[in-house]
């Protein structure tokens, strides 16, 4: 059966470029290409301990905080009436690309940012911005905050997708009957079963947090920067030997991520023990439940507020002509930033949209094909964890560790570096996220429908096209929107694989961020966000319009 080959093909597509890229990075780092001493040069860099520590610290702190806030929000509110609001907030929050969220946050919390402008001079007595090291602080606190704000919606989305498999309603009922507070009961009964389901997304968050480049450039420290940013700098060094040091740095980054994953695994075991003894203690935790609900509300407010106000201030700057500290609002307004950028925006938007639409569509087709093949031809169960890990490889191996090697390999193979190559590179990152958001609803689909249809004589193919796909339309479109968002947000793959020739809204926004003209940055960050938001809006609206006359299809059965 050739169909059995589909999942293998998809896995090869995901893991192949990553492994080839790591190899392409390792060779120059080890001096195989004829220039030894790359690791010596790396170890001689006096900033190494601090840069590595920063990567490790911000990554672990951001992941732990994001996970904790996610747990608080879910424990406090899932299954309650207010949860609908939180669920509806997730898509818009997710649709803000990392770079735009970081820029919005920077405009908000800087000493000359909007918060200080709103408070000055009446509350602070300041006419000039205070000389505080809030942004780009040496401990990476601003970077950690930015990561948390972006990752909580992602972890929430993943958790909500996985929740039905843990049957939270029944657990809540049993826990309540035994006298547990709502949130405490949830944490003791549902969370231990939910966490294994979202473990790989959590690992992806950890790896991303440690190796992000665009967010770290905008929010992170610079004396020294995180290791990933420094690796990109070495890649760009004018003296050409820097490239081998970059390769060595990329290998160090990879080892660092593996170390962090090992540390996290240890923490998981410790956490499981603590959870077990807390559960066994039998405390009903009524007061704790109320505190957890309030904390969950606070966490939601923090995340939504940081992103929402960030977008608002980006919008304000985009229509500003003059806005001096400490005015709360611009002194002179102007649409000039929008007018002068119209032609650039049009070109970049169509390029970005083309890449995102093609890669998201291909990703959805590949993921559906491989999920359906898994269902009809279940793979060897012993291979499943291995296959699952392979499919997450692009999310767990840091981008700086394999993209330069991949670029080198593609050049060796004589492959062109145009839009097609960028789409292929985006696919490597888009497929895992599409898989993440589609596999749970796909498996959760009640297979008794298929039994009924089969007993009525329908073929597998007919069941898929007439029954499964229409019933899963909403999650399929949501997965496509997630894919679109992932593609739009890609910075390093576009830059490195596109050879600079392929420009998107994201590469433009990050390039402009270095120049610091907030008015133009605002324009590009907003357009970038708007494009992704449009994708999510369509994903939500399309099923409702299509199933206008089918009440039972409108709530994702």
């Amino acid at each position: 059966m050739t169909r059995r080959l589909i999942p293998i093909l998809v896995l090869g597509l995901l893991a192949g470029p990553v492994l080839a890229g790591v190899l392409g990075t390792l060779l120059p780092a080890l001096g195989v290409t004829g220039q030894p001493g790359a690791f010596t040069a790396l170890l001689n860099w006096p900033g190494l301990p601090r840069a590595a520590g920063l990567s490790l610290g911000t990554g672990l702190a951001a992941t732990a905080l994001s996970l904790a806030l996610t747990a608080l929000i879910l424990a406090g509110w899932s299954g309650r009436r207010g949860f609908g609001v939180i669920e509806r907030l997730i898509s818009p929050l997710l649709s803000v690309p990392h770079a735009a969220a970081a820029l919005g946050l920077a405009f908000l919390i800087a000493p000359s940012g909007w918060i200080m402008r709103l408070l000055s001079p009446w509350a602070t007595g300041l006419d000039t911005p205070p000389n505080w090291l809030i942004l780009n602080d040496p401990y990476g606190l601003a970077l950690t905050l930015g990561l948390v704000v972006k990752e909580v919606p992602f972890l929430l989305l993943m958790s909500i997708a996985a929740l039905p498999q843990t049957q939270p309603r029944r657990s809540a009922l049993v826990a309540a009957t035994l006298g547990y507070g709502a949130a405490t009961g949830w944490l003791k009964t549902v969370w231990p079963r939910l966490y294994p389901q979202i473990r790989l997304p959590v690992y992806a968050v950890l790896a991303y947090g440690m190796s992000t480049v665009d967010m770290a450039i905008i929010l992170g420290p610079s004396t020294p920067p995180t290791l990933a940013v420094e690796v990109v700098r070495w890649m760009n060094a004018p003296d050409l030997s820097g490239r081998n040091v970059a390769a060595a740095g990329a290998v160090a980054q990879l080892l660092l991520v593996l170390l962090a994953l090992a540390l996290w695994r240890l923490a998981e075991m410790l956490g499981a023990r603590l959870m077990a003894s807390w559960t066994a203690s039998g405390t009903r935790g009524h007061r704790a439940s109320r505190v957890i609900s309030l904390a969950g509300l606070g966490a939601t407010g923090l995340v939504a507020g940081a992103i929402g106000l960030g977008l608002l201030v980006l919008g304000l700057w985009s229509v500003t002509r003059r806005w001096h500290f400490p005015d709360a609002l611009p002194a002179e307004w102007s649409l000039r930033s929008w007018h002068s950028q119209t032609s650039t925006i049009a070109g970049l938007t169509s390029q970005t949209m083309l890449i995102a639409a093609v890669s998201a569509t291909l990703a959805v087709i590949l993921v559906l094909a491989s999920l359906e093949t898994h269902r009809t031809h279940p793979p060897n169960p012993r291979l499943r964890p291995f296959a699952r890990l392979l499919s997450y490889l692009p999310l767990i191996i840091p981008q700086v560790a394999f993209l330069p090697g991949l670029q080198w390999g593609m050049l060796q193979a004589g492959l062109s570096t145009g839009t097609l190559a960028v789409i292929a590179a985006h696919l490597v990152f888009v497929v895992p996220y599409v898989y993440l958001s589609l596999s749970a609803p796909y498996h959760a689909w009640d297979s008794r429908h298929a039994c009924v249809a089969a007993s009525l004589g329908a073929s597998d193919r007919r069941i898929f096209w007439r029954l499964r796909l229409p019933m899963l339309l909403a999650p399929v479109l949501t997965a496509a929107a997630v894919g679109l968002a992932v593609s739009v947000g890609q910075y390093l793959p576009t830059l490195v694989i596109g050879g600079g020739r392929v420009q998107t809204l994201t590469t433009e926004a990050v390039a402009l961020a270095s120049g610091g003209d907030r008015r133009v940055i605002g324009v590009f960050a907003l357009v970038q966000t708007g494009l992704v938001a449009l994708g999510f809006a369509l994903a939500i609206a399309a099923p409702r319009l299509l199933w206008l006359n089918r009440a039972g299809m409108r709530h994702g059965q």
Binding site: I217, S222, M235, R336, W408, L411, S514, G515, D517
Partner: protein, 401 residues
């Protein structure tokens, strides 16, 4: 492809030994250029330059049928790295980069590695207007002879800008700047080396502080580096605690300082473009109380160039573009502070009266110094100094020990 082959190809294309331009050869270049797409890799961090490059693209498309794609870099080294990667992979034709905005260490590295198209600059028809005698920087890039491998298109000179509403009397020497910074903590900073403007600040300070500035014309490893640079590190050690964020964070680029000045975070900033402040006033980014000045001992000046990689896909189109950049039309537009505010590389006396009138008609802007006020530019040190100073700086201040 070996460099010799490149030379042969270049000679074949140009049909000339390289120094004398014959109109027939240029016509061949122009006809080969028609229909080509030129990927110009140029720093894309400032909207004013991006808008100017877009205008250039419109002009060459209309006049020569050359399509210009501006590849916006956050760092020129990205393009250098691209060419290096292509050479390593044996991609000796059809490269991704057709033209690079370049100077200094990037040029020295590419020239050294044989990555540039040779001897094409003086064949450009507009080369005759370039002020080679009056502006030595157009043929000597950070002391490295350009050898016709890069074509100048803008002059730059270090100036400082300040808001006269907040700071009536700015300090006009590095020594005075140090005292002023100590008296006004948190109000001055400079871009973080290895950013080129930050490194330029180090060079500028070194020229004033070191005992014998002529040593800087030699490579950094040919002199007693520690002794020559010691006064600079002393000055920085004393100044840093009084800088913006106590010297624990720095702006990452020069234009970033415009926003900081507009926000009132700093009172004084360095710039490499005498017209930058006027341009920023014109587009509303800075208040109209901002003025510029140069240091008493003079300031460093250099030229910006464009170069063509040896494996460019559209070398003829790139030459047409470089030639257009040298036209009085493009040069006067670049000098207009409403547009860009860059200094011209042309010799006013070599121009036809009508072309000269384009420059005479310019209002250089409220914050721009006259050529007399700017004074003669000091020469750039050898390119090795930029790398050496940036490395030492990073080791001392960039790794938070």
């Amino acid at each position: 492809m070996k460099p010799l082959h490149v030379l042969a190809v270049a000679a074949a294309i140009l049909g000339t030994s390289g120094t004398s331009a014959q109109s027939g050869d240029w016509t061949k270049v122009e006809s080969a250029a028609r229909g080509q797409t030129v990927y110009w890799h140029a720093w894309g961090g400032a909207t004013t330059t991006n808008d100017f490059i877009r205008w250039v693209g419109d002009q060459v498309a209309a006049s020569h049928g050359v399509t210009l794609e501006h590849v916006k870099l956050s760092d020129t080294a990205d393009a250098v790295g691209r060419v290096v990667a292509e050479k390593a992979a044996g991609k000796d034709t059809g490269g991704a980069v057709d033209l690079i905005w370049i100077n200094g260490a990037n040029f020295a590295a590419m020239k050294e590695a044989g990555l540039l198209y040779p001897s094409w600059v003086e064949t450009l028809p507009n080369w005759q207007y370039v002020d080679v005698a009056g502006k030595p920087a157009v043929t000597s890039d950070f002391t490295v002879p350009t050898d016709g491998q890069e074509s100048p298109w803008a002059m730059a000179q270090v100036v400082f800008y300040y808001d006269s509403a907040r700071l009536p009397e700015p300090p006009t020497s590095i020594a005075a700047l140090g005292d002023w910074a100590a008296a006004n903590p948190g109000r001055f900073t400079y871009p973080q080396p290895p950013d080129f403007l930050g490194t330029t600040f180090l060079k500028q300070a070194l020229i004033e502080l070191t005992a014998d500035a002529t040593l800087l014309q030699q490579p950094a490893d040919a002199v007693d580096y520690d002794a020559v640079t010691a006064p600079l590190w002393n000055w920085l050690d004393r100044a840093h605690p009084h800088l913006w964020r106590a010297g624990r964070a720095f702006p990452q680029t020069g234009p970033r300082q415009l926003q900081m000045m507009a926000d009132g975070e700093i009172d004084l900033a360095i710039s490499f473009s005498p017209g930058e402040a006027s341009a920023a006033i014109a587009n509303g980014q800075l208040p109209d109380t901002v003025r510029t000045f140069v240091l008493e001992g003079g300031t460093i000046g250099n030229a910006s160039f464009v170069a063509i990689p040896y494996n460019a896909s559209a070398p003829e189109g790139a030459m047409v573009l470089a030639n257009f950049l040298l036209s009085p039309e493009a040069q006067s537009r670049a000098q207009d502070p409403e547009i860009l505010g860059y200094g011209t590389v042309l010799d006013m006396d070599a121009l036809a009266p009508a072309d000269r009138a384009l420059f005479d008609a310019l209002d250089l802007g409220i914050a721009t110094l006259s050529p007399a006020e700017l004074g003669a530019a000091l020469p750039e040190p050898d390119p090795s100094w930029a790398t050496a100073l940036a490395d030492s700086w990073t080791e001392r201040y960039g790794v938070a020990r």
